[in-house]
C-alpha cells in the first residue's frame, strides 16, 4: 500500500483559472450587454438628470429648477394629487383582486377559466380604453351621468376608477401566484386543531399570501403613479405628475422643468421598486419548504358568494370593454345609436389614418423579436458564465433598473439623449428604431426575470457536462437551453409585443409624423374630440393583442403536446 502523506512543497502556488474560448466569448457578450444597457438606459437617464440642473441655454444652474418647482404651488400640488390617486387606487384594487384571486385558487366555483380570461382583458388594452369608456358612461353626455348626482367623472374619481380597471389584472396575477403556493399540510393542521374558518383565513391564508399582497400593492402603486394615458384622457383639471411632464414638454416646450418633474416622478417609482425587491428577497427563504398542493373542497355557501362577487367584478370589466366596443360602432353618441364602421376610417380623423396602426404592429413585432433575443441571450450569459463576478453583478443591476423607470421618464430621457449634439446615435431620433429600443428597454426587467427563472429551473450542470464532453457552450445553448426554455421564450415575446402595442407613456415623446403609433393616435383623436374614433382605435389594439394572445395560447398548447414526451409535467 502506498504512503499517501506526500512530501509537500514549501509553498502551494496560487491557482488562476485559465479561461477558455467559450468563457472569453461569454465575457465579451456580457460586456456588450452592459454597453447596451448603459447606452439605452443609464446614459439617457444621466442626460435627464443633468438637464434638470440646467437652464434653457444649457447652463448649469444648480437646484434653481427644483426650487422653482417646489415654490410653485400649482406644480407642487401634482405631487399630492399623484400620491392620492395612486394610494386610493391601490387600496381599492387590492381587496378586489384578492377576493377574485381567492375565488380562482381556493374555491370550487364554476367557470373559473372564463373568469380568469375576463379578468385579464385589461392587459390587452391601452390604459386609455377604460377612461374612454367611462367618458361614454358618465361623461357630459353619458347615459349613466345621473348616477353621479351632479358630480363629474373628469378628475380624481374618473382616474381612480379607470386605474382600478387597468391595474386589476396585474394585481390579480401576482395574488393568484401567491395563493397558489399554499401548503395543504398547514390547512390540515389547522383543521385538526379545530380552528374556525375565519381564524384559518387570518392565521394561515393571509400570512401565506402576505408577500404577494405587498408586492401587488407596490406594483399597482407604481403603475398608477407613472401612468399617463388615463390622467390625460379623464383627468380634466386634476393635474398629476405624469400629465405635468407632458404639459411642460409638449405644451410649454419647457424641457428643463419637464426633466425636473421626471426626476420627481422617478422617486416614488424607485422607492416602491426597491422596497418590493427587499421584501421579495425575504419571501424566497420562506417558500423553500416542500409544500403539498392544496386542493379546494366544495362549500356551497362560500362558492356561491364568491361566484356572485366574481360575476359582478368580471361583468364590470367586460362592461367597460363592451362600452368602448359599442361606442366605436355608433353613428353619433347619444343622438343616433345606429351602427356604423365609419369610426374605423381613421384617415378621416387623423392624417396618419391606418398607418399609425401598422406602425404599431411593426414596432411591436420588432420589439418582440429583438427584445426576446437580447433578453434571453443576456439572461443566459449572466446565468451560465463563470467567474467575472464584477461584470455579471453590474449587468444584473442594470437589467433590474428599467422596472423602476417610468415609461414617460425614459421617453423624456431619450429625447435629451438622442437629440444631444454630441451624440453620434442622433440619427436614430424620430425613427421607428428609437421606439423599438425604447420599448425593449422599458419592458426589459420583467422579461429578464422570466428568462432568468426559466434558466434557473434547468439543471445547473448542463454546462459542466458539455464541457466534459468537449462540446461548446453555444451548441448546448442552441440544442438544449433554447428548446427547454421555449415556453418562457414565447411568453417573453408575447409580453413584449402586447406591451409595445398598448403602451402610451413610453412612446408619447418619441414618435415623429412618419412613425406615429396607434396608441398615440388615441390620445390625439381624443384631444381633437373624436372620441368615437379613439375608442375604435383602442378596440383595434385590443383585437390585435387578443389575436396574438390567442395564437400564443394555441401555440403553447401545441408545443406542450409535441414535447410532452420529454417535458415532465
Amino acid at each position: 500500500m502506498t504512503a499517501t502523506a506526500l512530501p509537500t512543497p514549501a509553498v502551494a502556488p496560487a491557482a488562476r483559472a485559465r479561461i477558455d474560448r467559450d468563457d472569453l466569448l461569454m465575457r465579451i457578450g456580457i460586456c456588450v450587454l452592459i454597453a447596451w444597457l448603459i447606452v439605452t438606459m443609464a446614459l439617457p437617464l444621466w442626460t435627464l438628470l443633468s438637464k434638470s440642473f440646467q437652464n434653457q441655454h444649457g447652463e448649469f444652474i444648480g437646484l434653481a429648477n427644483y426650487i422653482r418647482y417646489f415654490s410653485t404651488p400649482a406644480l407642487f400640488q401634482s405631487v399630492w394629487n399623484s400620491l392620492y390617486v395612486a394610494i386610493t387606487s391601490t387600496v381599492i384594487v387590492l381587496p378586489l383582486a384578492f377576493v377574485y384571486a381567492y375565488a380562482l385558487t381556493r374555491s370550487c366555483m364554476p367557470l373559473k377559466g372564463l373568469f380568469q380570461a375576463l379578468a385579464l382583458i385589461p392587459i390587452l388594452a391601452p390604459s386609455l380604453l377604460p377612461a374612454i369608456s367611462l367618458i361614454y358612461l358618465f361623461g357630459n353626455q353619458g347615459f349613466l351621468k345621473d348616477l353621479l348626482l351632479g358630480g363629474s367623472i373628469y378628475g380624481a374619481g374618473g382616474i381612480i376608477v379607470s386605474q382600478v380597471f387597468y391595474c386589476f389584472p396585474v394585481a390579480l396575477m401576482i395574488l393568484v401566484a401567491a395563493l397558489s403556493t399554499a401548503d395543504a399540510r398547514l390547512y390540515e393542521a389547522a383543521d385538526a386543531l379545530g380552528a374556525s374558518k375565519t381564524r384559518v383565513f387570518f392565521t394561515v391564508t393571509l400570512p401565506g399570501a402576505k408577500y404577494g399582497v405587498i408586492s401587488a400593492g407596490f406594483v399597482v402603486f407604481t403603475l398608477v403613479i407613472t401612468d399617463f394615458g388615463i390622467a390625460k384622457v379623464i383627468g380634466g383639471r386634476f393635474n398629476v405628475l405624469a400629465t405635468d411632464i407632458y404639459k411642460q414638454v409638449i405644451g410649454q416646450q419647457n424641457f428643463e422643468m419637464g426633466a425636473v418633474v421626471g426626476m420627481i416622478l422617478l422617486i416614488p417609482a424607485v422607492v416602491a421598486f426597491a422596497a418590493d425587491r427587499i421584501i421579495q428577497r425575504r419571501q424566497v427563504a420562506l417558500l423553500s419548504a416542500r409544500a403539498v398542493p392544496l386542493l379546494p373542497k366544495p362549500d356551497t355557501r362560500r362558492d356561491t358568494a364568491l361566484f356572485v362577487l366574481c360575476a359582478v367584478i368580471g361583468g364590470l370589466i367586460f362592461g367597460i370593454l363592451a362600452m368602448s366596443a359599442w361606442a366605436s360602432v355608433i353613428m353619433r353618441w347619444p343622438y343616433n345609436l345606429s351602427l356604423t364602421l365609419k369610426n374605423y376610417a381613421f384617415g378621416d380623423f387623423d392624417t396618419n389614418g391606418w398607418d399609425a396602426y401598422w406602425n404599431s404592429v411593426l414596432m411591436a413585432a420588432w420589439t418582440a423579436v429583438i427584445g426576446t433575443v437580447i433578453v434571453f441571450a443576456g439572461a443566459w450569459l449572466l446565468e451560465k458564465s463563470r467567474g467575472f463576478a464584477v461584470g455579471r453583478g453590474v449587468a444584473q443591476l442594470l437589467a433590474m433598473l428599467p422596472m423602476a423607470v417610468p415609461g414617460l421618464v425614459l421617453g423624456l430621457a431619450y429625447i435629451f439623449f438622442f437629440n444631444a449634439k454630441w451624440n453620434p446615435l442622433g440619427f436614430l431620433y424620430a425613427t421607428l428604431a428609437i421606439l423599438v429600443i425604447n420599448s425593449v428597454t422599458h419592458f426589459y426587467t420583467v422579461s429578464h426575470l422570466t428568462a432568468t427563472t426559466a434558466l434557473k429551473q434547468m439543471d445547473p450542470e448542463f454546462e459542466a457536462v458539455s464541457a466534459s464532453l468537449k462540446v461548446s457552450l453555444w451548441r448546448t445553448f442552441a440544442r438544449v437551453s433554447v428548446p427547454v426554455c421555449l415556453p418562457a421564450i414565447l411568453d417573453i415575446t408575447i409580453y413584449l409585443f402586447v406591451n409595445a402595442m398598448t403602451t402610451v407613456s413610453a412612446v408619447i415623446f418619441l414618435y415623429s409624423t412618419d412613425t406615429k403609433l396607434a396608441s398615440v393616435t388615441i390620445v390625439n383623436m381624443d384631444e381633437a374630440g373624436f372620441t368615437a374614433a379613439a375608442a375604435a382605435m383602442a378596440m383595434t389594439i385590443v383585437a390585435t393583442s387578443a389575436a396574438v394572445k390567442i395564437g400564443h395560447v394555441l401555440l403553447t398548447h401545441r408545443l406542450e403536446r409535441t414535447t410532452q414526451a420529454w417535458r415532465r409535467r
Binding site: T2, A12, A17, D459, A464, V465, A467, A565
Partner: protein, 366 residues
C-alpha cells in the same frame, strides 16, 4: 488494482486549498490516485468532497495548489481542456434529447460519421444494460435507468478518468444496491480510473479500492476499506465508518492504559506519555466473550445491561466498573445461547489488545 510504489500516480493533488470568501472548504489537501483505481471520497455533508471533485474536474478551480493528471499539470486548465467524464447526482441528462442523442452528444461535435456514432452509442447502451432504450426520452426512464444513461454518456469519449458525484443517492435502496454492483463491474471491465463521492459508508466500503475519508476540508485517512475499518487513523474515522465504542482512559505506562479501575494492554504510540488522557476505540464485534482463559489479556467482568436482537446477532449493552452501560458488544446468536447471556448476567469479557485503538482525547468524543 491499487497502486504500488513502482507505478506513477495517474492523478496527483498537491497542497490543494479552496476558499469561499474566508471559509476554507479544502485545507492543504494532497493525494495520489493510481491508474485504474476506484477511489471513494467519503465524509459527512459539507466536508468538501464535492468541492474536491469539482476542483479535479476544473469546474471550480482551487484557490491554490496543483493538480497533475497523466503526468501533465492541469492545475489552471478549464474543464473543457481536461480529460474526464462526469456523472452528477441529478444526472443532468438533456431532457429534450433522446437517450441516444444524450449518449452521442459529445461524439457529434467530434465530427464522427453518423454510422460510427450510432455503433458507439449502441455499444455504450449495451455496456450499461439499456440496449433497447435509445429512442426514449430521459423522462420516460426510471431513476436507475437514467443513471446508467448518464454513465454511458460520461464514458462516450473514453475519458481517462471517471468522476461520480453521489451517483446513487437519489435512488431507492434496492436499485442502489444493484447499481453498486454494476458500476463496480463496469469499472473492472474498463479499468478506468474512477473517483466517486459519497457520504454512504457502506457504498464506499463495498465499492472502493481505496477510501479517502474527509472531514472539515482535510483528509483524515486514506486506505483500503479493510484498513479504514480495521485501523481507523483517527477517532473521527472510527466514529464515521461503522460503529465504535469510545472509552475514556489514562495512559498508565508503556503499552498500558487505565480505563476506570481496569488495566488494559494495548498498542500504544510513543507520543502518549504516562498520565495523558486518551480515548480507546473498539468495534462491538471485536469484544470477545468466548474461550476466555485466565491468561487472556484485558479480561474483566461486565454486567449485561440490555440486549437488542438484530437478527443474526445481538447487540449487548455492557456495564463495566459498576456504572451505566458503557460498552456495546455484538455477540452471535450462538454465543448468546451457549453462554446463557441475559440481562443482569455478570460475565468475563476481553478486549483484544490488537483490536484496541488509542486516540488523543478530544472534547467532542467521550
Amino acid at each position: 488494482m491499487t497502486g504500488s510504489g513502482a507505478t506513477a500516480p495517474y492523478l496527483r493533488i498537491e497542497r490543494l486549498t479552496k476558499l469561499f470568501g474566508n471559509f476554507a472548504a479544502l485545507k492543504d489537501i494532497s493525494l495520489e490516485i493510481f491508474p485504474g483505481e476506484f477511489v471513494c471520497f467519503l465524509g459527512p455533508s459539507g466536508c468538501g468532497k464535492t468541492t474536491l471533485l469539482r476542483a479535479i474536474a476544473g469546474l471550480d478551480i482551487q484557490t491554490s495548489g496543483r493538480i497533475f493528471q497523466g503526468g501533465k499539470e492541469v492545475s489552471n486548465l478549464p474543464s473543457s481542456q481536461r480529460d474526464f467524464g462526469i456523472v452528477f447526482q441529478s444526472y443532468a441528462l438533456f431532457p429534450n434529447l433522446t437517450v441516444s442523442a444524450n449518449v452521442g452528444y459529445g461524439l457529434v461535435s467530434r465530427g464522427m460519421a453518423r454510422v460510427e456514432i450510432e455503433t458507439r452509442v449502441n455499444d455504450l447502451l449495451r455496456l450499461v444494460g439499456l440496449p433497447e432504450s435509445g429512442r426514449k426520452y430521459p423522462a420516460q426512464l426510471s431513476g436507475g435507468q437514467q443513471q446508467r444513461v448518464a454513465l454511458a454518456r460520461a464514458l462516450a469519449l473514453s475519458p481517462g478518468m471517471l468522476l461520480l458525484d453521489e451517483p446513487l443517492s437519489a435512488l431507492d435502496a434496492r436499485v442502489r444496491a444493484h447499481l453498486r454492483v454494476e458500476i463496480r463491474r463496469l469499472h473492472q471491465r474498463l479499468a478506468i480510473t474512477t473517483i466517486m463521492v459519497t457520504h454512504d459508508q457502506e457504498e464506499a466500503l463495498t465499492m472502493a479500492d481505496r477510501i479517502v475519508v474527509m472531514n472539515h476540508g482535510v483528509i483524515e485517512q486514506v486506505g483500503t476499506p479493510t484498513e479504514v475499518y480495521r485501523r481507523p487513523a483517527s477517532a473521527f474515522v472510527a466514529d464515521f465508518v461503522g460503529t465504535t465504542n469510545f472509552l475514556p482512559a489514562i495512559v498508565a505506562g508503556p503499552g498500558h492504559v487505565r480505563f476506570g479501575a481496569i488495566n488494559l494492554a494495548c498498542d500504544l504510540d510513543v507520543q502518549f506519555g504516562p498520565g495523558k488522557d486518551v480515548t480507546l476505540a473498539i468495534r462491538p464485534e471485536d469484544v470477545v466473550v468466548r474461550n476466555i482463559a485466565p491468561s487472556t489479556p484485558n479480561t474483566f467482568t461486565a454486567r449485561v445491561a440490555e440486549i437488542e436482537f438484530l437478527g443474526s446477532f445481538c447487540r449487548v449493552g455492557l456495564a463495566v466498573n459498576g456504572g451505566d452501560p458503557a460498552l456495546l458488544a455484538d455477540f452471535s446468536i450462538n454465543a448468546v445461547r451457549d453462554l446463557g447471556i441475559a440481562e443482569g448476567k455478570e460475565m468475563p469479557i476481553a478486549l483484544p489488545p490488537d483490536r484496541l485503538r488509542v486516540f488523543p482525547r478530544q472534547s467532542s468524543l467521550p
